[in-house]
């Protein structure tokens, strides 16, 4: 039973890691995205730069993913 509980907690932890980082990345990307769209409307040649800024916050969620993979496979 205790083992089952531990497994459950690991699953919850992994879920939280991805979920919360996803939330954070989402908020950040929302802000960047709004500004990026504004900038691109003014000058379409900024697309490349805007795209890069746009995906910067994604790193956070990737770290979340790493943690959750570690949680599931290592713990």
């Amino acid at each position: 039973m205790a083992e089952g509980e531990a497994l459950g907690l690991i699953a919850v932890g992994a879920g939280l890691a991805v979920g919360l980082t996803g939330l954070g990345a989402g908020i950040a990307e929302g802000n960047v995205g709004a500004a990026a769209v504004g900038a691109i409307t003014e000058d379409a040649s900024l697309f490349g730069k805007a795209m890069i800024f746009m995906v910067l916050p994604e790193t956070i969620v990737i770290f979340g993913l790493v943690i959750s993979i570690l949680a599931i496979f290592v713990m």
Binding site: G48, L65, I69, V74
Partner: protein, 687 residues
């Protein structure tokens, strides 16, 4: 590797008396990208002046465009093309001016009538108000010692005007709609009356210059209005006739005149002295000789020299004069890859000295798209829609989407058939489980395993059984495999990107420079991959430390070597960017993740339709119809979402992971002087 086409710089020298012929020749060759002359670049030369015909052409162009606007001719108005010689002779015989006279006469008439209608409407409005009072219109004016004011008010001013000797006439004033008030008072009381009236929200009506009862005047005005409107309709009809009569001419002359104006302005961009001119331009190397022969043959007394054939070395750029530094980029792609230039251009036009990433996008974008979709059922509509789009549309945005759908659809079909063994979220072979269905069990096609068993991947389960039927996107035994696969794809993709970076720098500065600038990143990348691999082996697979000693050690050495190489160029970034490498690789797990999310949705929807509705309502024909309709609708939803998520994410992997590693962009696209005739037909085509 696909580099932009090699370019040569040519110089055309000739006498000023042959300038027009030279300009004609430049356009007919259609391969010269003009280099703008800069003032003081060559001693004795200045910028030329525009040709004498250019001013006239621009003036006529303005007239034609104004007429088009007046007549309501837009870009989309269908017109028949006119031959070049016909339109030229028409323009030179002052047809533009003649048509203008005709159009302006009608337009003036129309404007006058419109103004008259506005006036009549205003009069009508005043009279409508005045007719409520029923005072003869000539009674409002013509007095010596008294004045009259008439207008609308929201409250009755009579009590407020009690102290002032005056005559007030009101018509049913209500707070909501207001009413009409007329006040007659002595001239000396004018100020007082005005201030009282202003308290009642009074706004004056100007009394029209009519006599008699307002109702009679109103009837007359209404009659006039109808007559004027009828006249306007006639004028509109006349305009429509003019539109039909002249639209072909106007469209064709607009095109011809803009070509003329453009040609006439060419001398402003080139160098000229008192008696001669010099034109610098870029020409694709393989056409340079032909261009030289062609121009020399066409224009008397002109000499063309091929000055240089530019290599990709940046040293040549540094040594060149400012205006010759930038070489235009001519994309050098085949028919299919050409369709993928759109995403490249969206980012930026490649420089002359670097790889055009369109070919990499053409390979990987549809591949990733297909892997994420990986379903025969969804792929067929993608292919059909994409092929239809490519056939029908010429708009570049739609073409880009259709291209991805078509080629991505083909990959999705291949992956769906040979890798996942899946159609509409259901596998071809296998047994039905509690929530999952297969085509074999659903339709009772027990010969399907014979067809697919050999080609689809299989896995040995923990209990020793072999599971056939391809990769199960949601199968617990397959998830690890899919994640690993996407990570390995990511590693290959990124390694390719780093190699492209080295290749670009080798072209531009030679290998040793390239190794110093980009080689460090290749080493760090490989080192990081080896270290992560070893760590994953120890941490996740639980292998002993000494089994992965060698890759770990090699990885560490490569990583340190890479960082040391990078430090002089990038400083602290060389260390700070290292976690980014892991992030970049893991970013590719989205390929597996999006496939899984689609499979998850499809699984749930299939269970709802087949298990709950068809199975739950009893297997009658009604249940079958409902289940089928819902099935179609829900899968259409997944399919639509597939375009968005799979399309955007595979594009993002190209932009952010691949191109950022090596692509600089910021080039100028090759735009040769060329005439594109749509509304006129060239004399050459005829001949």
């Amino acid at each position: 590797m696909s580099l932009p086409e090699s370019m040569s710089r040519i110089v055309i020298v000739g006498t000023k008396s042959h300038m027009d012929e030279a300009i004609e020749a430049l356009y007919s060759v259609g391969a010269v990208h003009l280099i703008d002359h800069t003032v003081d670049a060559d001693e004795g030369f200045t910028l030329g002046t525009s040709r004498p015909y250019a001013a006239k052409a621009s003036e006529r162009l303005l007239k034609v465009r104004a007429m088009e606007k007046d007549l309501g001719i837009t870009k989309k108005t269908p017109t028949a093309p006119i031959s070049e010689s016909e339109i030229k002779s028409k323009i030179s015989s002052n047809s533009v001016e003649l048509v203008e006279d005709e159009v302006i006469a009608v337009i003036d008439k129309k404007n006058d009538l419109n103004q008259r209608i506005t006036e009549l409407n205003a009069t009508k409005k005043s009279l409508e108000q005045l007719s409520k009072l029923d005072i003869d219109l000539d009674m409002y004016s013509g007095y010596r010692s008294i004045f009259s004011m008439v207008g609308t008010a929201t409250s009755d001013p009579t009590p407020l005007l009690a102290d002032i000797p005056c005559e007030v006439v009101c018509s049913g004033i209500s707070k909501k709609e207001g009413g009409v008030v007329a006040v007659f008072a002595k001239n000396e009381d004018k100020d007082k009356v005005q201030s009282v009236l202003s308290e009642c929200d009074f706004s004056e009506i100007s009394v029209p210059d009519e006599t008699g009862k307002p109702s009679a005047a109103l009837a007359k005005t209404e009659h006039d209005l109808v007559a004027t409107e009828a006249e306007l309709a006639k004028v509109e009809e006349e305009l429509n006739k003019l539109l039909d009569k002249h639209k072909d001419f106007l469209k064709a002359s607009e095109e011809e005149l803009s070509i003329e104006a453009q040609k006439g302005e060419i001398p402003v961009r080139i160098a000229a002295s008192d008696y001669s001119f010099v034109i610098d331009g870029w020409v694709p190397t393989k056409k340079a000789e032909a261009v030289k022969i062609d121009i020399e043959a066409k224009v008397e007394g002109t000499y063309v020299e091929i000055q240089e054939t530019r290599t990709r070395s940046m040293k040549e750029v540094e040594e060149a004069e400012d205006r010759f530094k930038e070489v235009p980029t001519k994309f050098n792609n085949g028919r299919i890859v050409k369709e993928f230039q759109y995403p490249t251009k969206l980012m930026s036009v490649p420089k002359y000295q670097e790889i055009d990433p369109s070919i990499l996008i053409a390979i990987f974008l549809p591949l990733f798209f297909g892997m994420m979709i990986g379903d025969v059922g969804y792929s067929i509509p993608f292919i059909i829609l994409g092929a239809y789009g490519l056939k029908v549309t010429h708009h570049k945005d739609w073409r880009a989407i259709a291209t991805v759908l078509f080629f991505g659809g083909i990959w999705a079909f291949i992956f769906g058939l040979f890798f996942y063994g899946e159609c509409l979220g259901m596998h071809f072979i296998g047994e039905n489980t509690a929530v999952e269905y297969t085509w074999e069990a659903l339709l009772g096609l027990h010969n399907l395993p014979d067809l697919f068993q050999g080609i689809l991947p299989s896995i040995v389960l923990d209990n020793g059984e072999i599971e056939y039927g391809g990769v199960h996107k949601l199968g617990a035994d397959w998830i690890g495999f899919q994640l690993k696969l996407s990570v390995y794809i990511g590693i290959c993709h990124l390694l390719l990107a780093y190699c492209c970076g080295v290749y670009n720098k080798t072209l531009q500065h030679g290998f040793s420079h390239a190794f110093k600038e980009k080689g460090g990143w290749v080493l760090s990348f490989i080192g990081m991959v080896l270290i992560c691999y070893s760590l994953a082996m120890i941490l996740i697979n639980g292998q002993a430390f000494d089994t992965v000693m060698i890759p770990l050690a090699i990885g560490a050495v490569l990583l340190v070597a890479g960082v040391i190489l990078n430090i002089p160029e990038d400083g602290m970034q060389a260390v700070l960017e290292l976690p980014g490498i892991v992030g970049g690789i893991l970013s590719y797990t989205r390929i597996a993740a999006i496939g899984m999310s689609k499979a998850g949705m499809a699984l749930a929807f299939n269970y709802i339709c087949i298990g709950m509705i068809y199975g739950g309502l009893g297997e009658g024909p009604i249940a079958l119809v409902i289940a089928f309709a819902l099935f179609a609708f829900l899968h259409l939803m997944i399919w639509t979402l597939g375009i968005l998520s799979a399309g955007l994410h595979s594009l993002r992997l190209q932009f952010v992971e691949l191109m950022v590693k090596f692509y600089e962009g910021g080039g100028v696209e090759y735009e040769p002087l060329k005439i594109k005739r749509v509304k006129t037909t060239s004399n050459k085509d005829k001949a």
